[in-house]
Structures are given as structure tokens and as C-alpha cells.
Amino acid sequence: MNPSTVDVGTAAVAAADAKQVMRDYFADLGAAAKDPARKVAWCTSVGPAEILRAMGFEVYFPENHGALLGATRVSAETIPVANAQGYSPEICSYLTSDIGACLKGVTPLSKAYGLDGVPRPDVLVYCTNQCKDVMHWFAWYARRWNVPLLGIHPPNHLPEVLPEHIADVASQFRRLIAQLEAITGTPLDPEALRLAVARSREATDLWESVLDTARTRPAPLSFFDGTILMGPIVVLRGTQIATDYYRTLLAELEAKVAAGHAAVPGERLRIYWEGMPVWGRLRQLSDLFAGNRATVVASTYCNSWIFSDFDPAQPLESMARAYLKIFINRDDAYKENYIERLAGEFGIDGVVYHAARTCPNNSNSAYNLPQRLAAKGIPGIVIDGDLCDLRCFSDGQSTTLIEAFLETL
């Protein structure tokens, strides 16, 4: 989830102003939180935002806040606060960063967007398609602020997404809608849902096209640009704003491709980033790869907001399919095939696997996957780190590992 106020310095894409889009988004959220006539829902980043949008909620994504805490390195001060309250250093550092920030009464949203604090929710909606930590995270807020807590519990780690899985989750969505209607006092307008799903589909298709521009040699954007540019697809899915933003961005990138613009001048190697970003080290890692004339041209992370299954003709079933099919919710064979396919499509020379200490669900190096892909001719290196907790990251060792890996390619 993008911390859009962070400049990683590659400046591959500048004109399409993600920052302005995010400023407007947070300004509106701040206003909604203070307006008794408007309702704010908190939602997990790959949760059913379309339903919430269609029901008139303004939607806030705490994972975005976690990323912002990590990128600004405020996490270093807030994680220990949560640890001291019994939230282990071994669990999701978005959770510990965010809960610690709440306990400490700090948020980077104040400096970045002028908000007094995080927007207080009227309802908390999570989906465990990524992990169970989001459930524990939202439950803390539900207890603290006495706010309704609603959850979607999909089947996890699927080899295939089968009709019964889709029926299960669609059924859970229907129950969620009924619970939300009890909060809003207004029934869901099916047309509004279809429109939200249609907008999400259009935006996500455009986002995919944006990422696909990196198939070009040299790539016009890198993973590090992507972590900034992905902001609207995370927080503004289901709105026209996201669609308009990505249409502009895509046109800009296509022009860069036509002009032969390289995100990394003299691109020599093309790398796939597997796992979470190390938010507090985006710039350093971006510079490290660029200094070795390597472009990180594709990533599991940025691709996680491509939802090609959205279909306004079948809004709930297609949402169920899309949110079940995400990479993180699949078995290892799927993940192996997925990375192998992308390695071919993007001309990947090697994979950097980020083993994030507090995010085992989004780390894929612990079950022999790097070795299996290496046997297929896709070499990789594993670096230890974390999304937010820099206590788990060694600058020196990571630099040596990455540089030595690039030397071998």
C-alpha cells in the first residue's frame, strides 16, 4: 500500500500526480470523519471496497497507514509501544506500527495531509484472504472504540478457485451487505454496486497496463516507482478518480516507452521482486539496484491489485472470485507457475525474495520455492528484512547479498 508522500528518487514517472490524488483522498476522508451525515468504513487492502463504496461509505485502509508509518520510519517509535502491550514483535508490523501509533497518538497523516488523526470509523470490515493478522488488528479498534466489526473469512491457500469457494464468499458478502444495511439504514442499490465493480475493473485493467509497460527494454518504470504509483488502485478502487488517474498515467508511460525512456539508465539486468517492500529502505534499495544498472521490472506486490475477474454483470460472484484468486491466497504450485510465467513475460534475469520477518504470509522463500525456480533456470536470492520493522533488516548484509547476486547474473 503506497505511502504516496515518499519520493524514492527514481523520478521515472512524474507528471501523473499520484500525490495530488492522495491529498484529495485524505482531505475528503478527514472531512467525512467530521461530518455526522457521512460514514467512514475501514477496510483491509484487498477487502470488499466496492460494496462499501456502493453503500456510500468513505473507505480508509489501515494497511496504507502501516506502509506510511514504515516509509517515514515512524514505525521505529510505534512498534515497541504495541510490543509492550502484548502484540508480539513476530506478528504483522503494519499492525504493531499502527496500533502503537494510535496508542502514542501520532500519525504521519498529520504532516503529510493535515489530518488531525486517522479518520474514526463507523464500521470495521476485514477480509482474511491475506492473513489473520488483519482480524486481530481490526478487533483491537473494535474494542477500543466500540465500533462494529464485520469479517469475511474466505477459504485460504487454494490450488484452484472452485465454484463452491466462490459461492461461500459471495454468501458471506450478502450477509455483510445485510449487516451494513443495518448500520446505514439504507438498502444497497444494486446499480451502485455494479457501477463500483465496473469502475474497479476499469481501473485495475489500466493498472495492469501500467505495470505491463515495464515489459519493454528498457523499462520505463520500476517496482520502486510502482509502490508509489499504486496508491489510487489501493485506496480509490470503485471510484472514477482511480480510473482517470491510471488512464493519464498509462498515456504518460506509453509516451516514455515510445521515447525509449529508461527508469534505470543503461539497464543491464531485469529483476523480479518477490514479497513485501521494505518501506523504510525504498530509496536505498532503488539506488542500489540502479547503481548496478538493474531494474526491478516486476513484482508480486504491485501485481496484487490486478483483479481481472471483476464483472459488473455478476458483481458479488466476480468479487468473490477476484478476492479469492489473489496470489497470497494460493498454494505454492500456483505461486511457482505464476512467477515462472512472469519471469518469461518480463525477461527476468533473477528474483530477489524478501523474507519479511513479520509477514510470513507474504514471504515465499521458506518452502523451497527459490530452489524450485532456480532449477527451472530462474536464479534467486533471499534477503531477510521486514515491511516496517527495521530491527529485522541489515543494510550491510542486504547490500552485499543483492550486489553479489547481481554479479553472478
Binding site: A374, D384, T400, T408
Partner: protein, 301 residues
């Protein structure tokens, strides 16, 4: 990082043929330097403790004393020039850096990782014609490098903690109040195979204390410490090889580790690399020489 811009100071004057290639290996415990001539012949090696400011201590190592070969201009051998604190290289001398401190030496002509430098240092000296595996144990990391006669095929470095590295040995020696140089001799007097379980250097220290309290012999604990180093290294990656080459300062000072590794492999040829502690520095110098070769290939191995 300061960057030298004066060719006379940086030794990068294109009109002067390079006669001496220096490698500097800035490790966590020691700075090692090695110099070679254009034929790849080793001219000198030197080492000193890693102290800070780093560049001052690298400068002293490169300068040497008295009649020693020096990379530094005579006028500046005694101390760093005040203008930017970067060493001033003699014409015809070039310096290449490796090790954790490699990015902090602004005056060098190139850098490379420890993986590549150790490989180049080993291969240059041994000229092996078959695939082999290097086990290098340094002050703060352990490396396993799968090599061919022409390149590094793959590698692994210890993850996160110091167990299996020189720091681990140093910490346990401190706990046991035994001088480092006494460790191999004492380990040879062991009469029991003990196991230290923990990944963690601190927790391993606690295990040692507990065993001492139970009356265990120091010799057995030191032997267990060495076995622990072997275990930590071997669990880093699967090693399938018939030739093991050892390099690095730890192997140099604790050769008892070699048979402990060998016994885990059945039939395996073991070689302690010549100048084991200087393989990284030598490799960095070889890298510099290769950079200048006409065809760009590592033809000095």
C-alpha cells in the same frame, strides 16, 4: 562518501601504465590489503584491526612502513592530506575494495562484493579445473560459494545472526575466559562430543555457562563450539561437492574446523587456500587486473 577527483591523487591517470594493483578487504574485524603486479604475482600482504575513521586506517595499510611497498605518495605516507582526507596514490598504483566497508572508500578505482573477491582470490591461487565449493568464515559472516573454474555459480551467506562466524567464536572465548589462540589446542583435548543447540550467540553463551555450572570440561565446550560453527554453516545451503576450499581469517586461525567439516562429507578433498585470510583482498586486486585486461575476461586465474 568523498570522491577523489584529482587524477594524480586517485592514481587514475590514463597515461600512466598500472604496475601495481592493490586489493583492500574491509572486514568487520580486520582490514586486509594485498598487492599484485601485472602478471598477478603477489607482492605483499598486510593487515590491521578495523578501526575508525576507516579511511585513515586503510591509508596506513596501503602506505606501509619504511621500505615496504607503498601505494601512497611519499609526501603523504605519514598521514592523510588535509584536503578531503583521501589517500593520494602513487602513479601506476590502483586500489580496489571489497568487504563491508567497500562503499566508504571514495578514492578507490572499483569495488566488488566479498563473494566475488574471495572466489577470485581462491581461483587465482589454486587454478582449479573442476567445480568446487568455498567455505569462507569471516568475522561477522560465513559464506558458502559454489564455484566453477570460470565463475561463481551460486552462494549463500549466513542470515541475521552471528552464530557460525568469527564473532561467535570470539564471544564464547570471552565467556570461557580463554585466549583465542588457545582454543584449537584446548579443543584437541576434548573427550566428549557435546552439542550447543541455539542459533543465537547470546543463548549459546548461556548454554555454555549452564554446562560449566554442571562441571563440564572447558575442552569439551570449545570442541562443541567448533562443531556448532560447522553445523551453522552447513545448514545455510545444501553442499554437493567433492572439493572443499576453505578461506577467511577464522579458518586460518582455527584449522581444527577443516576436519570437522570434512567428516560431514564422507569422501571429500579439502584445501586450505594459500593466504586464506587475504583471499578477499587478493581477489579485489585480481578484479582490478582483470578490469584492465584487453579482452575483459578473468584470464589471470
Amino acid at each position: 562518501m568523498n570522491t577523489a577527483t584529482d587524477p594524480a591523487r586517485s592514481g587514475s591517470d590514463a597515461t600512466v601504465r598500472t604496475e601495481v594493483f592493490w586489493g583492500v578487504d574491509c572486514g568487520s574485524a580486520e582490514i586486509k590489503v594485498a598487492a599484485i603486479d601485472r602478471e598477478g604475482r603477489l607482492l605483499t600482504t598486510r593487515r590491521c584491526r578495523t578501526l575508525f575513521p576507516l579511511v585513515e586506517h586503510v591509508h596506513r595499510s596501503l602506505a606501509g612502513h619504511g621500505d615496504e611497498l607503498s601505494a601512497i605518495l611519499d609526501s603523504d605516507r605519514a598521514e592523510l592530506p588535509p584536503d578531503g582526507r583521501q589517500p593520494s596514490l602513487r602513479p601506476g598504483h590502483k586500489v580496489f575494495a571489497t568487504g563491508y566497508g567497500r562503499h566508504h572508500l571514495g578514492f578507490v578505482q572499483g569495488q566488488l562484493t566479498e563473494i566475488k573477491s574471495h572466489y577470485l582470490g581462491v581461483q587465482h591461487q589454486l587454478r582449479l579445473q573442476q567445480d568446487y565449493t568455498i567455505i569462507d568464515i569471516g568475522g561477522q559472516d560465513a559464506k558458502v560459494i559454489r564455484a566453477t573454474p570460470g565463475r561463481v555459480e551460486k552462494f549463500a551467506i549466513n542470515r541475521k545472526c552471528a552464530a557460525g562466524t568469527g564473532s561467535f567464536i570470539e564471544e564464547l572465548a570471552h565467556r570461557l575466559e580463554v585466549p583465542m589462540h588457545e582454543l584449537p589446542r584446548l579443543a584437541a583435548g576434548h573427550d566428549k562430543d557435546l552439542t550447543l543447540n541455539s542459533y543465537c550467540t547470546v543463548f549459546s553463551g548461556q548454554e555454555v555457562i549452564k554446562l560449566l555450572m554442571q562441571g563440564e570440561r572447558v575442552e569439551n565446550l570449545i570442541h562443541a563450539m567448533y562443531r556448532s560453527v560447522v553445523k551453522r554453516v552447513l545448514e545455510m545451503t545444501a553442499i554437493d561437492t567433492d572439493t572443499l576450499v576453505f578461506s577467511g581469517g577464522v579458518m586460518n586461525h582455527h584449522p581444527i574446523l577443516m576436519p570437522l567439516f570434512a567428516e560431514r562429507f564422507g569422501t571429500v578433498r579439502t584445501i586450505l587456500a594459500p593466504n586464506a585470510q587475504f583471499c578477499g583482498a587478493l581477489g579485489a586486486a585480481i578484479h582490478g587486473l582483470n578490469e584492465e585486461s584487453d579482452d575483459g575476461l578473468p584470464n589471470h586465474q
